[in-house]
């Protein structure tokens, strides 16, 4: 009986040797685990942390110096020592007292330092995480001429502070979730309490907490998760992502929820509606007329990038009567001697452009000029001179290409670009009728989608009296 009791208390009282053994069992031979014997007051102790999650100067400065507790000359008990540590020595650091060894291990992985005291059941866990991260820089997408130049970084803490310092408001809430059963990536949901619709909040929470993914390295994964939650096929992106804190904050003012993923500089916004993708944060910082003008210009360019090649094919190969005669003659003269029909000609050049674009985004920066020379001179100039494609074709394709990049959000442009091929196919099969049907399909799809129950595109919603926004 007594021996049993002793062994039981022995288990609870973490003897340092046992702790060492357990650590070795769990962490194996990993080189970045530091297990160092320290003196805690008058007792022996053990401090362990991952060297890769903190830096030694921080540990020296804030942890080790205070451990000795030199001010206590008279002997005190272990429990008292522990309390002293907790209350006075580390009151400035975020700390926790844990009993379960598994919890402690997990905390160590997250970048905490654990301090064991010989024979004491409790373990003090200190947050000593100091990670090197990119400093705040200007965002690489979504550039503005006028407006704040800060962009989000890969560190979620930095990102949250970027948001918090724009809202000096007690209602701003951050909720933490852990996603990925292999990576335990921290995901934060930020919203203004009382502003956001409860129903939407519930749905987002449910999605985040019921995910079964193994790893999470970028917010793109969560974007897909939210996107696939909607019913039916969704051709348009329903989640907005931004690298700009001011854009995210202005969305949050409008009753949206921001989702910050540790390790990704792109913060997601839900729910998203269609006009969001045509809004640049800069629009709000300028004279209102310029803002409105550029927004409409973006819509126009979007329509242009979708239908121009298809329209060209439909009109030149089916409905020549719709072209003014002078233009028709000029097109016909240019197409003289071109071996391909208009649809093949367009497809050829569109695919060439897609290849150029793909090469341009993926290649190392140093070889950049090569691609532009080959693209501009060889493919543009030479194909026309060689009589493979006509001049007007090059105009059509380049106009489409430029308008395709006008949308301030790159992901939107890249998704929408594919619809162009569908329209080209339809219009080369049945002319203008096919083009109109294709456009109708896109419009129906646009109005059918709902993002967390909010209609994706609703022209007159601003005149709805019941709307709270």
């Amino acid at each position: 009986m007594s021996t049993e009791e002793q062994s039981l208390t022995g288990e609870q009282m973490n003897s340092l040797e046992k702790v060492k053994k357990q650590l070795k069992q769990v962490f194996g031979e990993t080189t970045d685990l530091a297990v160092e014997p320290v003196d805690v007051g008058q007792y022996k102790g053990l401090m362990c942390y991952l060297t890769t999650m903190t830096n030694s100067a921080f540990i020296m400065e804030h942890v080790v110096k205070k451990l000795a507790m030199s001010e206590h000359k008279e002997p005190i008990s272990k429990e008292e020592t522990f309390q002293q540590l907790e209350i006075s020595a580390y009151s400035g650091l975020s700390h926790q007292t844990l009993q379960n060894i598994d919890d402690v291990m997990f905390k160590i992985v997250l970048g905490n330092a654990a301090i064991f005291i010989e024979g004491c059941a409790q373990v003090l866990v200190l947050d000593v995480r100091t990670l090197n991260s990119r400093s705040i820089e200007e965002p690489s997408t979504q550039n503005v001429v006028r407006g704040p130049k800060e962009g989000f970084t890969e560190s979620a803490d930095t990102n949250m502070s970027l948001i918090r310092r724009r809202f000096n408001n007690v209602k701003l809430r951050f909720e933490k979730y852990e996603l990925g059963y292999l990576t335990h990536t921290a995901v934060y949901m930020a919203y203004l309490d009382g502003e956001v619709d409860e129903e939407i909040l519930k749905q987002v929470r449910e999605t985040l907490s019921s995910s079964h993914i193994d790893s999470l390295f970028d917010s793109g994964r969560i974007e897909e998760m939210f996107h696939s939650k909607g019913k039916g096929i969704q051709l348009f992106p329903t989640v907005y992502s931004s690298e700009r804190p001011d854009a995210v904050c202005s969305c949050m003012i409008n009753k949206r929820i921001a989702i910050i993923v540790d390790g990704s500089p792109f913060v997601l916004i839900v729910p998203t509606i269609f006009p969001d993708f045509f809004q640049s944060p800069e629009d709000e910082y300028q004279w209102v007329v310029i803002g409105v003008f550029s927004r409409w210009l973006r819509y126009f360019a979007f329509v242009l990038s979708l239908i121009v090649p298809a329209l060209y094919i439909a009109v030149t190969s089916y409905h020549q009567e719709l072209i003014p005669s002078v233009l028709l003659t000029s097109i016909a003269a240019q197409r003289e001697g071109i071996p391909f029909p208009a649809s093949i000609e367009i497809l050829l050049m569109e695919i060439t452009f897609e290849i150029l674009r793909e090469a341009g985004t993926r290649m190392p920066r140093l070889v950049g000029p090569t691609i532009s020379i080959v693209g501009a001179l060889v493919l543009g100039e030479a194909t026309v001179q060689a009589g493979v494609v006509s001049n007007i074709n090059v105009i059509v394709v380049s106009l489409t290409a430029i308008s395709g990049f006008v949308a301030p959000i790159y992901t939107f442009g890249s998704k929408v670009r594919f619809f162009r091929f569908g329209l080209i196919l339809l219009s080369s099969l049945i002319g203008l009728y096919g083009l109109v049907l294709g456009c109708c399909l896109l419009m129906v799809q646009l109005t059918r989608i709902e993002s967390f129950g909010v209609p994706y595109m609703s022209l007159f919603s601003r005149w709805d009296k019941r709307r709270v926004t």
Partner: protein
Amino acid sequence: MTPSKVNPVDTFTLQLVFLLSTSIIFGTPSVVPDSWLVGLVAFFPACLFIVLYSAMLSSQHDLGLYPMLEKAWGKIAGKMFVLLYAIYFLYIAARNIRDMIELVMSALLRITPVPILTSLFIMLIAYTALGGIKAIARFASLILCIVLLMLVTLAVFLMFSSSIILEQMLPFLSKGMWPVIQSAFTHSLWFPYGEIIVFLVFQPELGGAKGFRKITLYAFISACIILTISDLLQIWSLGIESKKYSVFALLDAARLINIANIITRMDAVVALIIIFGTLLKCSVFLFACTEGIARIFKVKTGKLTFPLALVAGAFSILVTRNSAEHVTEGLKYVIYTMHIPLQLLVPLLTLILLRIRYRKGAAT
């Protein structure tokens, strides 16, 4: 950002586009000289439809058309009427598809086989109808903007190509008021205004009797104004005589546009208006039809949409042999055998039955 409800403005645009869509080109029969007056005259009796239908709705606490019929006529007869209405809606959808295909055949594609055109179109209709009435309403607001924009463009271009001659509308009332009134009562009243009965099916979702009364009145007024303006445009540019003999008068008017030899052929624009409008109208009818059929045979609505769309498409090809027969059938037989009984008589009888069977105070 709040989850969606049906917006009253969207309901309004839905009804407006529904009223405009095909009637903007086929609407007013050109057999009488002052056809633009027909639309105006027909508006006033058309308001009686609003009174009748909203009385039906308010007497039954905003029940939809189908449950209302079953309640008034009993289980079996009620089901028969539901089936009748479902088939009626499908038939109108088929006729509208045919109208649109006729136009596309004459304006855009002359030699493409009709089944190809139709089958592509019905797939689109089915897809639209699958979205439900909320999505259709939002789609309608998009369509309304495009259609109105195109109509204004047409008017402005006609003006700039100096095709609008106001004298063309003379002689005014050369045969007196009677032919106008007669035509209003035999044609325009039933189509497009009477077809609004299809909205009784969705009215519980769209705001009930109260919403119906107000929104539909606004929709009727706007539709009346727009149709009259479009008729006037056609008469001013084509003249009374050529409008009389033209099948697609708006299309012929658009052909007159010529601005500096650059903007010449605008008929494609008219074809676009028609395709958009017909798509919307047919999907409303198809959706109403699937609701009815699903109610009778107790199937899921989504499962029926594509098969019924196929039926509508096949029907649109088989219903008449040629364009002339199609137009005559539409102007004469359909009105007397289908529109008048199903838009006026059956609803009226239903209302009376409901009033008798469920008196005020009795449990409904």
